[in-house]
């Protein structure tokens, strides 16, 4: 029917890109408990940097990491005044960062072409091999997703990841253990931002066109829903929830709706209510992870 081969490949690429985004937000919010709303901004910084550099002849293998680094640097600068403050401040400042980033994409017309967007972004290529078709691109995106997933899993089970979870569970007690909480939070924030930058680069070179509307705040809120569905801090759950979410979002487009219902509004309403219901009734997510409590963490640390 409508589920043609081309559409499925396209959906899989989108799932891979959203998967990277969700995993990176999961590291920041789900694992460390930092309420960052700027994820769409880091995604955008990665996309614009990578796109603009390749359009000036710089190879993708350089441009993509540059986008990641720039996203990380922005996160670092934002992190300096905020990681030491209680979570609400990070929420406010990252919300602001999202707005500023959007204003930059829209208003720095000499570079970003503003609302007209950037057309003709070259395909990604590595040492002469160009990922020109959707299938080839799917391979690239899937490899990136796999790498990000493995890194996130490793981080989760490393001493670093255990400290991050301890911070989420009980920041005061973690401090009492002599951990430099702010530095751990900062690293989590920066790494998460850089991964979002990677997703941005993948998106830009896949679609070939970006404009400020691709990086709106709603995107971050959709990512919230994904990681809440997947269970905060649960990487596998996050990836599975991404699949469910992207499929559901595409599926909603094909539901026959009466004319008076605005499909975008319906989608937003459904997702909003779903997020409320999930948080109220199933906060551990649809796929419960093994619970790592702070008590267990401390037992491990203290032997």
């Amino acid at each position: 029917m409508f589920a043609s081969y081309g559409l499925i490949v396209h959906l899989l690429v989108i799932i891979a890109i959203y998967g990277i985004l969700s995993l990176s937000l999961n590291l920041v919010l789900g694992v460390t408990g930092l309420f960052s709303i700027a994820h769409a901004a880091f995604y955008g910084v990665g996309a614009y940097t990578s796109a603009l550099l390749t359009m000036r002849g710089i190879p993708w293998v350089v441009a993509m990491p540059a986008g990641m680094v720039l996203a990380g640097i922005v996160a670092y600068i934002i992190g300096i005044p905020t990681v030491r403050l209680v979570g609400d401040y990070l929420a406010v400042v990252t919300l602001g960062l999202g707005e500023i980033a959007r204003a930059v994409f829209r208003n720095w017309i000499s570079v970003t072409r503003g609302p007209m967007g950037l057309p003709g972004i070259p395909s990604a290529s590595i040492f002469g091999f160009t990922f020109g078709t959707a299938e080839q691109y799917l391979v690239l995106a899937a490899i990136c997703l796999l790498v990000v997933y493995v890194i996130c899993q490793r981080l989760l089970s490393s001493p670093f990841g255990r400290v991050l979870k301890a911070i989420r569970e009980d920041q005061r007690a973690t401090l009492a253990l002599g951990k430099n909480v702010d530095r751990f939070k900062m690293w989590s924030f920066v790494i998460g931002a850089a991964m979002a930058g990677l997703a941005g680069s993948l998106f830009a070179h896949y679609i070939g066109f970006i404009d400020p509307s691709s990086f709106v705040m709603w995107l971050t809120f959709f990512l919230f829903l994904i990681i809440v569905l997947g269970g905060l801090g649960n990487n596998l759950g996050t990836v599975l929830a991404t699949v469910v979410f992207v499929a559901a979002r595409e599926g909603l487009r094909f539901v026959g709706l009466p004319d008076w219902i605005n499909p975008a509004a319906l989608q937003q309403f459904v997702f909003g209510m779903l997020l409320v219901v999930m948080t109220l009734f199933k906060p551990e997510g649809l796929i419960p992870a093994r619970k790592v409590t702070y008590r267990r963490y401390r037992q491990r640390v203290e032997g």
Binding site: L29, G33, F35, I78, I80, P81, T82, R84, L85, V86, G87, D88, Y89, A91, V92, V93, L95, G96, L97, E99, I100, A103, V104, R106, N107, Q171, R172, L175, V181, M217, F221, F224, L225, V228, L232, I261, N262, A264, A265, L266, Q267, Q268, F269, F271, G272, M273, L274, L275, V276, T279, L280, P283
Partner: protein, 291 residues
């Protein structure tokens, strides 16, 4: 000189509406120690209720305005009861996420019921008059008068009434307040009612000065948010001060720098302030840091 005075007054008009919206944020933060993201959307719903009553229902603007405040107060209480109270003992992340979701759902509901297009009150009060070097419309005069009246009313409530004092007591220490005999749930409901009514006022006034859109809630959230943190989280008077500062600086910046950066200026200031004074202008430093 004339321009500066005009910009200052324009800033005062915008700042007044931001301050009204910021009060609710600040009060909820005081009582429950979480940021209610849905507050901007509640203001938007308030604006639309007044619009429906006035433009579609034919009710005169003043009763429509007051009725909208009352109904929005009810909405705020309902949201607290259904979405936030069950999570009061959960980690703060849960309340934050839920409030984001409530904001989602409210925006979408209005979009579905009334459409996404821009609406306008079309009030017959656009006549401009001149005071010294400054030009004002009647609507703008009403905005300034209303925001000051509501803020004075709030000051009176918090300082002299039993309810107001218990709102402050709860912000200090909810548990101690309950031990002392204060019904915490009732006072928290009152906080949501008052905050939401003032948000509705802000929404209606913004709607009168500019226009209405289902996405306006997000803009209100952004501005009120910045105002609250600038003034000091949980400090109602700080939120009011923050609202005026942001309104004024925005208008000055839009003129002297460029109007396209208007919405970013508030946040640049905010981030700079956080570097120097994390607790905001009137906040207590110990509330801002974890240790």
């Amino acid at each position: 000189m004339g321009i500066a005075a005009q910009l200052l007054v324009n800033g005062l008009i915008a700042g007044g509406t931001y301050a009204l919206a910021a009060i609710g944020y600040s009060m909820v933060y005081g009582a429950l120690k979480f940021i209610n993201f849905a507050h901007g959307s509640i203001a938007m719903v308030g604006a639309y209720i007044a619009f429906v009553l006035f433009s579609l229902g034919g009710i005169p603007i003043i009763p429509a305005f007051l009725l909208s405040m009352a109904l929005t107060a009810l909405l705020g209480v309902l949201v607290e009861r259904l979405a936030y109270r069950p999570l009061r003992a959960s980690p703060k992340l849960a309340s934050l996420t839920t409030s984001v979701a409530v904001s989602f759902a409210l925006d979408a509901s209005v979009m579905m019921l009334l459409g996404a297009e821009i609406r306008s009150f079309r009030l017959p009060m656009q006549r401009t008059f001149q005071i010294g070097p400054v030009y004002l419309t009647l609507v703008q005069t009403v905005i300034i008068a209303c925001s000051f009246a509501f803020m004075f009313g709030l000051y009176f409530l918090l300082t002299f009434t039993k309810l107001g004092k218990s709102i402050r007591a709860i912000a200090d220490d909810l548990l101690l307040a309950e031990i002392s005999g204060i019904n915490g749930n009732l006072v928290i409901a009152a906080v949501f009612a008052i905050g939401s009514a003032l948000a509705a006022a802000a929404g209606v006034l913004i709607g009168m000065e500019t226009n209405l859109q289902p996405t306006m809630g997000f803009m209100i959230t952004v501005k009120a948010f910045a105002a609250v943190v600038l003034g000091g989280l949980g400090n109602v008077y700080g939120a009011i001060l923050g609202g005026f500062i942001i309104g004024i600086v925005e208008n000055l910046g839009a003129w002297y720098i460029s109007p396209v950066w208007k919405d970013s200026i508030a946040y640049v200031i905010l981030i700079l302030v956080l570097f120097v004074r994390p607790a905001g202008l009137l906040g207590k430093p110990e509330d801002a840091t974890v240790v």
